[in-house]
């Protein structure tokens, strides 16, 4: 159950994480927010929608699936090349974040990790794939209104679920902001700013307001998605 703490991070070297992916990608935003929240350096290359590059042989050699984000970390002699945003956030936190952002004890981490996973597998698809994409990334004339309305209704109990879990917070772990807030909170800017019929979620609204107070969230997650809008 022991994990390598920050011992391989030389004091003199601030890790510089190379990131491939456009700033407007919600999955890139999770990674960038984690980098900034931990206080790491980064070099980000635009790739994906509007920028291309993710179908080049060079990119496919990094990620055979051709998806962003991809990161490379060459800190202190390591060479880690990886993709899958949630796994990247876990990697960065496990490598460089102090307690309690990344709880070292699996018994503490497990009950937070399940909400992070739920955000990725349930809240994310329910909102991002079924509401945000159809509403923003589909030309108005092609939007399937009946299907979108069903998705909007189906989103309500999902949002209430997270609202109940957050309660008075302030964070998922209670007093401490953790990796699970990054994976859960990363979707809330779009959820909040997109205009549609939502469940009443006072706890979730207050939680989102607290997230907005964090400079790293304001910079890396609250990024305009106008460039994605279908015309």
């Amino acid at each position: 159950m022991s994990e390598t703490p920050n011992s391989d991070r030389p004091n003199s070297e601030i890790p510089n994480i190379e990131v491939w992916g456009r700033a407007s990608s919600s999955n890139v935003q999770l990674v960038m927010w984690a980098i900034a929240e931990i206080g790491l350096g980064f070099t980000r290359h635009d790739a994906g929608f509007g920028f291309g590059m993710n179908d080049t042989p060079e990119f496919l050699a990094m990620n055979p699936n051709g998806l962003i984000p991809v990161i490379r970390d060459r800190t202190g002699g390591r060479d880690v090349l990886m993709w899958e945003s949630a796994a990247i956030v876990r990697y960065l936190c496990a490598s460089y974040a102090p307690e309690p952002l990344w709880p070292r004890d699996p018994a503490v981490r497990g009950p937070l990790d399940m909400w992070a996973e739920w955000a990725k597998t349930t809240f994310g698809p329910a909102f991002n794939s079924r509401i945000f994409w159809p509403a923003i990334r589909t030309p108005a004339a092609q939007i399937d209104r009946a299907s979108l309305d069903r998705a909007i209704e189906a989103m309500k109990p999902v949002a209430r679920m997270l609202d109940d879990r957050i309660g008075d917070g302030p964070w998922l772990a209670g007093q401490d902001f953790t990796f699970a807030d990054i994976l859960c909170g990363g979707m809330l800017y779009r959820y909040d700013s997109l205009d549609f019929d939502k469940a009443e979620t006072p706890h979730l609204d207050a939680y989102y307001a607290r997230l907005c107070q964090r400079p790293a969230y304001a910079e890396h997650v609250r990024v305009s998605y106008e460039a994605l809008r279908a015309t």
Binding site: A87, P106, A107, R165
Partner: protein, 220 residues
């Protein structure tokens, strides 16, 4: 003692139980879900407010009374808590740089392979009455799954296991749907590396015990 809630025929429960079996953990499992019901009781909702299986509670591992749900999070918990002492460091490396590859492939296998198999293919073929089956949608599901399996095939042509040279949770997240994939009545393109990998999985007693089991009770 580790307690697991969820019927043996749930593919997500199978992933967790296979992991429990590989780790050799003492456990008690309660059948819940589908014909067993029990997901709507206040007692179960107190364990998982979403009313979904699997759920675990590990009273020896330090989680204490706190339940853990979400299959992938459960497997990560079990691997982090017991992997090293039971199966050695390679199963879930303590060094985050080494663990990155395992976690990334595990996450990908669940989101890209298992998710493209269970609902769009397995449910559409097995859990849908013959009269309601949509062959066009099934063919599309098999084709989309096939693209992911081509990635798996390329990966396994060069690596014994999905994350590299060792059996890891990435293999659990991929392999827990393969018994059904190879068993159901669908078109399967030849993929020799995947076939050889599936044969290696069948050499594992925990895979045979927890994954290679009848799904007849699910048939519509």
């Amino acid at each position: 003692m580790l307690t697991v809630w969820g019927r043996a025929t749930s593919s997500n429960v199978q992933a967790v139980m296979w992991c429990v079996g590989e780790l050799g953990l003492d456990h008690v499992r309660h059948d819940l879900g589908h014909t067993h019901g029990g997901l709507d009781t206040p007692e179960f909702r107190a364990l998982n407010p979403h009313g979904l299986i699997p759920v675990i509670r590990d009273e020896t591992g330090g989680v204490g009374a706190a339940p853990v749900w979400e299959t992938a999070a459960i497997v990560r918990y079990l691997a982090a808590r017991y992997g090293r002492e039971r199966l050695g460091d390679a199963f879930w490396p303590a060094d985050p740089a080494a663990r990155a590859r395992v976690d990334m492939w595990a996450h990908w296998a669940k989101e890209s392979v298992a998710a493209r198999f269970t609902v769009p293919v397995f449910w559409a073929v097995v859990r849908t009455p013959a009269a309601k089956r949509d062959p066009v949608a099934i063919a599309r599901g098999v084709r989309q799954l096939g693209r992911e399996l081509d990635t798996v095939e390329a990966r396994l042509a060069e690596n014994e296991w999905l994350a590299g040279g060792h059996f890891t949770p990435a293999d659990i997240m991929l392999g827990h749907v393969l018994y059904r994939y190879f068993d159901i009545d669908i078109a399967r393109k030849p993929r020799p590396a995947l076939d050889a990998y599936y044969a290696r999985l069948q050499d594992r007693p925990a895979f045979r015990e927890h994954v290679c089991i009848s799904y007849e009770s699910l048939r519509a």
